[in-house]
């Protein structure tokens, strides 16, 4: 075997070694999730029944359910999405398409990347003083949604920018060449082509938000709530009420946190059951993200 051959063999060997290491890492992380999930489901399965989904918290573990928690989670996530998507996507588009490279955009950019690394409890403290005390929103669904919205804003902005960046410059040039204005280019080309990436980013952001506990505990999400927010539909004029925005709420992670810290074993089973439900919710959101990405990628061919 001469030296060239040896080099080739070594290179191949390294290649294989890396592939195997990568595969092992992949399997290890999958394995950890699988073990955690099965452990949770094994503990919680006897409690996952329809009554569990449609009962309020109770002092008797067998009677306790997650109705107020999952309804709270869903509503808070909706408010989060309504707040963070327009602002986040608009910011991303501005920074990529309009923003000139100067010190202001530099500052914004540095801020965004810094915000992504700020511990979530800091967002809780910020909204405690801003939303709860200064703007007097109280410990409400609105405050919760806005808090989580702030939390995932950097994720949405970054996802928007990344996915706009993958659009080749030639597309923009072609659009201009046909006489389109900047807004027309953005409206008919940039946004449609980046929608897949943006939606993926949004959903990943939302699935992070749905599992957050710390900032919501800081703003005072409550643990015992045995009622649902007031109905958005009213029998009298104006028929639609947004009073629910100011209702107190609880969310899944807070409910789980409360059950875990109780002495009775029955509550620990409840916590495991609720955790599996939360995990399935997160997996579903991520699954939707993957599906959307697939759909949009298939439709666009450069």
């Amino acid at each position: 075997m001469n030296r060239e051959d040896l080099k080739i063999y070594t290179a191949r060997y390294i290649d294989h070694a890396f592939a195997i290491t990568g595969l092992l890492c992949c399997l290890a992380s999958l394995g950890i999730i699988a073990v955690l999930f099965f452990d949770l489901v094994l503990d919680g399965l006897p409690r996952i029944t329809s009554t569990f989904f449609f009962s309020f918290p109770s002092r008797i573990p067998e009677k306790a359910g997650i109705l107020s928690a999952w309804v709270g989670s869903v509503i808070v996530i909706v408010v989060t999405a309504l707040f963070s998507i327009p602002i986040g996507v608009a910011t991303g588009i501005y920074l990529e398409e309009y923003g000139k490279k100067n010190w202001i955009t530099d500052i914004i950019e540095i801020n965004i990347s810094n915000l992504a690394g700020v511990p979530s409890i800091i967002y809780g403290l910020l909204s405690l003083s801003l939303f709860v005390y200064l703007l007097k929103f109280g410990e409400s669904i609105l405050t919760g949604g806005l808090t989580l919205g702030l939390l995932i804003l950097p994720i949405v902005i970054t996802a928007t920018r990344e996915s706009i960046r993958t659009i080749p410059q030639s597309i923009r040039e072609a659009s201009y060449a046909l006489g389109a204005t900047k807004w027309q280019t953005i409206r008919w080309h940039i946004i449609p082509y980046s929608t897949g990436g943006i939606l993926t980013g949004i959903i990943i952001g939302l699935s992070r938000a749905i599992g957050e506990t710390a900032p919501l505990i800081t703003i005072g999400a409550l643990t015992f709530i045995a009622f649902l927010p007031s109905s958005p539909i009213q029998p009298s004029f104006p028929f639609i009420s947004f009073g629910w925005l100011f209702d107190a709420f609880t969310v899944m992670p807070v409910q789980i946190f409360n059950w875990i810290s109780r002495p009775q074993k029955g509550f620990h089973i409840n916590a495991a059951a609720a955790s599996s439900v939360l995990l399935v919710m997160t997996l579903l959101l991520n699954g939707i993200a993957i599906y959307i990405r697939y759909r949009f990628r298939r439709r666009i061919r450069w």
Partner: protein, 348 residues
């Protein structure tokens, strides 16, 4: 290249659609902002100690059932201290507390003109626990506990044989509740002599189950928390008898010893504090009334120790006459027996 099917059709279509989209979004958001008005239904807000939480939760659950859902109760767990902060800002109607209100908290309340009614509702024992395999700790005196937990001991008292000669030389592993809990305040007050004075080099957690895990998993562990957590983990923990400084007898905490006052100084009363102004709301009044009438049964169900009947009667009197202020006058006190508490109730 580049065009999706829809776009090819839509291209050249109007600006109108964009404007429509923009305006409808603006309309939706402004509608959101302007059409909001505070919910009209009555909500009773309680917050505070996680120790008292199970009792208040039980009462709230039964109360809502009795009212057929017409009145809603929310309960948070910000800890006794955190609960008083909100209470004295007037944000909550009821504050759950595992210790009497302190001087600076009373001042806070006065500043915000929050008058409160103090009602004892149950007794709780703080249990000191070791690992079941630990065969050397037979009992502990208050002095020994003080040696273990005093701030001066930090970094110095680390081995068992420093507490009592003859005990092993191995390093102690200490577990205790977080500093925002009333349990921590009460224990430090009772043992060290000053609330919140404790060494800092121990494993602390707001979640008592973490402490249970820690003590159950380490032969050199020692920790303290509410008796209810021991009741649920009897096989994994060993209770330590505490020598009552007055009688000199080592006493194990239990329903009986807490009630007959022989387990001292680690028995404590639990309270609810009610904002006097909130009692103008009929629902809050009814809730507190319900609390006192059904407290005894629900306290036992929540694994705490009920006060004697006479105490509940006196609490009810105090509540009916809306007597404000704390019988403790902001001075933290330990080792208060049911009788002493009652005398104070009568005196006021």
């Amino acid at each position: 290249m580049g065009f999706t099917k829809e776009n090819r059709i839509k291209i050249g279509s109007n600006k109108g659609f964009d404007l429509f989209l923009l305006f409808s979004m603006l309309a939706l958001y402004s509608f959101l902002i302007f059409s909001v008005h505070a919910a009209e239904r009555v909500i009773i807000k309680a917050d505070g100690s996680s120790t008292v939480y199970p009792i208040s939760e039980a009462v709230a659950e039964e109360f809502q059932k009795a009212k057929k859902g017409a009145v809603n109760v929310t309960i948070g767990i910000s800890g006794t201290g955190g609960g008083f902060k909100k209470f004295c800002r007037g944000e909550t109607d009821i504050s759950n507390a595992s210790r009497p209100i302190l001087k600076n908290e009373i001042e806070q309340c006065e500043q915000n003109r929050v008058e409160f009614i103090e009602l004892p509702i149950a007794y709780d024992g703080l249990a000191v626990m070791v690992n079941p395999k630990n065969n050397w700790v037979d009992k502990l005196t208050v002095e020994e506990l003080k040696k273990i937990w005093a701030p001066e001991s930090q970094g110095k008292i680390t081995r068992w044989n420093q507490i009592r000669t003859g005990w092993p030389q191995s390093t102690m592993r200490l577990f205790g509740p977080g500093v925002d809990s009333g349990t921590f305040d009460y224990f430090t007050e009772a043992i060290v002599g000053k609330a919140k004075a404790s060494r800092g080099d121990y494993t602390s957690s707001e979640d008592d189950n973490v402490l249970v895990q820690g003590i159950a998993g380490d032969i050199n562990a020692l920790g303290y928390f509410g008796l209810a957590y021991y009741e649920e983990n009897k096989d994994r923990l060993k209770l330590v008898p505490i020598v009552n400084p007055k009688t000199g007898k080592a006493v194990l905490p239990s329903m009986e010893t807490v009630m007959n006052n022989s387990y001292q100084p680690l028995s404590r009363p639990l309270f609810i504090y009610i904002n006097k102004k909130s009692l103008d709301k009929k629902e809050v009044y009814e809730f507190v009334d319900f609390y006192l009438k059904n407290g005894k049964k629900l306290v036992r169900e929540a694994r705490y120790i009920p006060l004697p009947d006479s105490a509940y009667r006196l609490a009810e009197e105090r509540f009916r006459s809306k007597k404000t202020k704390s019988v403790f006058a902001g001075e933290p006190e330990v080792g208060l027996s049911v009788e002493e508490l009652l005398k104070r109730e009568q005196k006021k």
